[in-house]
């Protein structure tokens, strides 16, 4: 294989690697995007609450995009049928048991931190936000959100039986804790954390009026973070130092071997010079000692060892001058 081919091969390898990294990260990012869509609030017994565009009081489910970027939920599925949990069930069979969020309506594009309300117990012919998903308010209901492939479960929650017009909602948009919200606290199409900030401050004021607990907890966290840094620096520093020491020992050993070899050669040469050419012994010793010392300390010049002298006529040494 010639050099050009090797270079092209190497470049292709790099591009291939980059593509793999790109595709892997893209799929992870796609996955993360879908996972940011959460079921946020559900009302299963709507007798005097949110009205649909026909003035009907239908059960509803609110989705929230918990990220800061826009995400399109078209093609995703909502279901209350637990049979879809059967992993062996084929995709077409699953899809029959689920209501699909249709394409072609702009609200399916949920902006960051925004919501989408979908009606249940309805028919898709009524509009894109109407799903053919059955809910019975007299029973505990499991409701799930599936990705567009009908297989990946994105989010699910079990709704207890509640009084009419109460909702089951996350305490804050996207938060893991759920709570039954009374009629006055139901928040269709808006954030679930209304009034939360005030209560947070009030809560701290009530439980820690002097700030002692906060000081202890916060200082502990600061110490924890910095102690972990200390452990890393200490551990890695030690590891690094031992590796450096090992490297140094290996280098020294290699140098020693080189010196021994060179010494043997030098002794042979010295003997030869002393016996055959009558060179002064002290001179030899001084030259060899200096050479070894410079060799060991790596202070010798780097030379190619090739001297090329070519005759070249230039203007200044031309014969006519």
């Amino acid at each position: 294989m010639d050099i050009d081919k090797i270079m092209i091969y190497n470049q292709m390898k790099k591009i291939g690697l980059l593509l793999v990294v790109f595709m892997t990260s893209s799929s992870i990012m796609f996955g993360q995007g879908a996972n940011n869509i959460k079921i946020n609030e559900v009302m299963v017994n709507n007798t005097d609450n949110y009205l649909d565009e026909y003035g009907r009081k239908l059960p509803w489910v609110e989705l929230v995009n918990n990220s800061f970027t826009t995400y399109n939920v078209r093609g995703m599925f909502i279901t209350t049928n637990k049979e879809v949990l059967d992993k062996d069930m084929s995709v077409p069979e699953r899809m029959k048991l689920m209501g699909q969020i249709p394409n072609g309506f702009k609200e399916s594009l949920i902006e960051g931190r925004q919501h989408l309300l979908l009606y249940l117990n309805s028919k898709p012919e009524k509009g894109p936000r109407h799903l053919d998903v059955v809910v019975d308010p007299a029973q505990t209901i499991w409701i799930a959100l599936y990705d567009g492939n009908g297989k990946n479960l994105i989010d699910s929650v079990t709704i207890p039986v509640m009084k009419p017009n109460c909702s089951f909602a996350r305490i804050k948009d996207g938060a893991p804790v759920w709570k039954i919200q009374p009629v006055t606290m139901v928040t269709p199409n808006s954030a679930n954390n209304a009034g939360q900030e005030v209560s947070k401050i009030e809560n701290i004021k009530a439980n820690d009026p002097y700030g002692i607990l906060m000081a202890i907890i916060a200082m502990s966290i600061v110490f924890l973070a910095l102690v972990l840094l200390y452990i890393f620096m200490k551990g890695f520093g030690k590891l690094n130092m031992s590796m450096e020491a090992r490297k140094e020992r290996t280098e020294k050993y290699k140098t020693l071997i080189k010196i021994r070899k060179a010494s043997k050669k030098a002794i042979t040469m010295a003997k030869d010079g002393y016996q055959k050419k009558g060179i002064n012994k002290e001179t030899y010793m001084a030259v060899i000692a200096m050479a070894l010392s410079e060799y060991a300390q790596d202070v010798h010049d780097l030379e190619s060892g090739i001297i090329t002298i070519k005759r070249k006529n230039t203007a200044w040494n031309a014969k006519q001058f």
Partner: protein, 386 residues
């Protein structure tokens, strides 16, 4: 002719109502005098001129009186005015992370890496923040306001602005000016506390020479530091993320141009805009209140507590350290994140007692740890109260 004269006079009178002289109140002149005092401190006394000149002029600029109802769109708090656009960087918390990017690109963490236990001094000094938080609560501030004020004890201007813009925006002007003023006054506040808490023998302690730090350690530190701190305190992400990003630009040695820009041009631009708009935000109506006096008192106290905690913590550490490995308590003050002013004070005070005892490199360890510590502390407070 009379009509023309009347027209001219009316317009002239109208013009006069727009001037600063017609709209000026005593408070404006007081604030302008404060701004002039800051400029005097910076130019004549050489007190942190890079901070105090923009802030001082900003105070003057923000207190030039004008007719607020004229709709000229010139005031800091008027939508669409140029100053308001600059001010968004403070209000929305954009400038502090950018300053942290610059700090990261300029900071060498070698001193800390060579002697990792110094990071604990940086953690201990953050008690200044929480001590001041408790006192602020006792003085009647709400928890979110108390946290905004207490962060002054971290001795970190950008962190103070970042946290107060999130937790107590109405106090931000006073908090920012207070934080920067006290940072400039570190050479006045810290030495008496350090002298008070140390014996002559302790001040003479010589610390062993720091070991050489490998390039690998320097490169790994910002990556691991980012992961460790932000996994524990994700709310500190904007500050810690930018700090470690800037440091990685520097230490990777592959992005010299970016690192140079972050540490020089970008940092200078942001510091100018930050200082100027923070100064502008101290308009008399917002600034000359009893709360400002309380904030300045609490800020001074926070600085003193932080210095004390750092020095005392070193003394406690010395109980457990072997002879020859002991730390000079004069580096304890550097646990606050005023880089490198606090470390310079350790150096100067050390030289005062032993003219061959150079503490600067040792003090830089807790000093840079203080930067991380105060950002973590801000993240914790934001997490609890935000």
């Amino acid at each position: 002719m009379t009509g023309t004269l009347d027209f001219l006079l009316d317009n002239f009178n109208e013009f006069l109502t727009y001037t600063g002289f017609a709209n000026g109140q005593v408070e404006n002149y007081i604030m302008i005098a404060v701004g002039a005092f800051f400029l005097w401190l910076a130019i004549k006394k050489d007190f942190e001129p890079l901070l105090l000149i923009p802030i001082g002029l900003g105070i003057i600029l923000g207190n030039i009186p004008f007719r607020a109802d004229a709709g000229l769109e010139i005031g800091l708090y008027e939508d669409n005015s140029v100053l308001n656009i600059f001010y968004q960087g403070v209000k929305q918390g954009w400038y502090p992370p950018l300053v942290f990017l610059g700090i990261g690109a300029m900071t060498d963490f070698s001193a800390l890496l060579s002697n990792p236990k110094l990071v604990l001094v940086g953690a201990a000094a953050q008690f200044g923040i929480f001590g001041a938080y408790m006192v602020a609560l006792a003085l009647g501030f709400e928890p979110n306001q108390a946290a905004g004020i207490a962060i002054i004890g971290g001795a970190d201007g950008p962190t103070a602005i970042f946290l107060s813009s999130k937790l107590s925006p109405n106090l931000m002007g006073a908090i920012a000016v207070c934080a920067y003023s006290y940072m400039a006054l570190v050479p006045v506040i810290q030495p008496p506390v350090m002298r008070l808490l140390t014996t002559k023998k302790e001040r003479l302690i010589r610390m062993p020479k720091p070991r050489q730090v490998s390039k690998t350690e320097k490169i790994l530190f910002p990556i691991v530091g980012l992961l460790l701190t932000t996994f524990i305190v994700p709310s500190g992400l904007p500050l810690l993320g930018m700090l470690f990003f800037g440091n990685l630009l520097k230490e990777s040695t592959k992005t010299d141009r970016l690192s140079f820009t972050a540490g020089n041009a970008l940092n200078n631009i942001v510091v100018m805009l930050l200082g100027l708009t923070v100064g502008c935000s101290t308009q008399a109506s917002e600034f000359l209140t009893l709360n400002t006096v309380k904030i300045f008192a609490l800020g001074a106290m926070a600085f003193i507590i932080a210095t004390m905690s750092g020095v005392l913590f070193v003394k406690i550490m010395n109980i457990f350290l072997k002879e020859g490995n002991k730390l000079n308590p004069l580096i304890g003050n550097a646990g606050v994140s005023a880089v490198p002013m606090a470390a310079r004070i350790s150096q100067n005070l050390g030289l005062e007692y032993d003219r061959h005892n150079y503490l600067l490199m040792h003090a830089m360890g807790p000093n840079v740890a203080g930067v991380i510590g105060s950002a973590v502390a801000a993240g914790v407070l934001l997490g609890f109260l935000g």
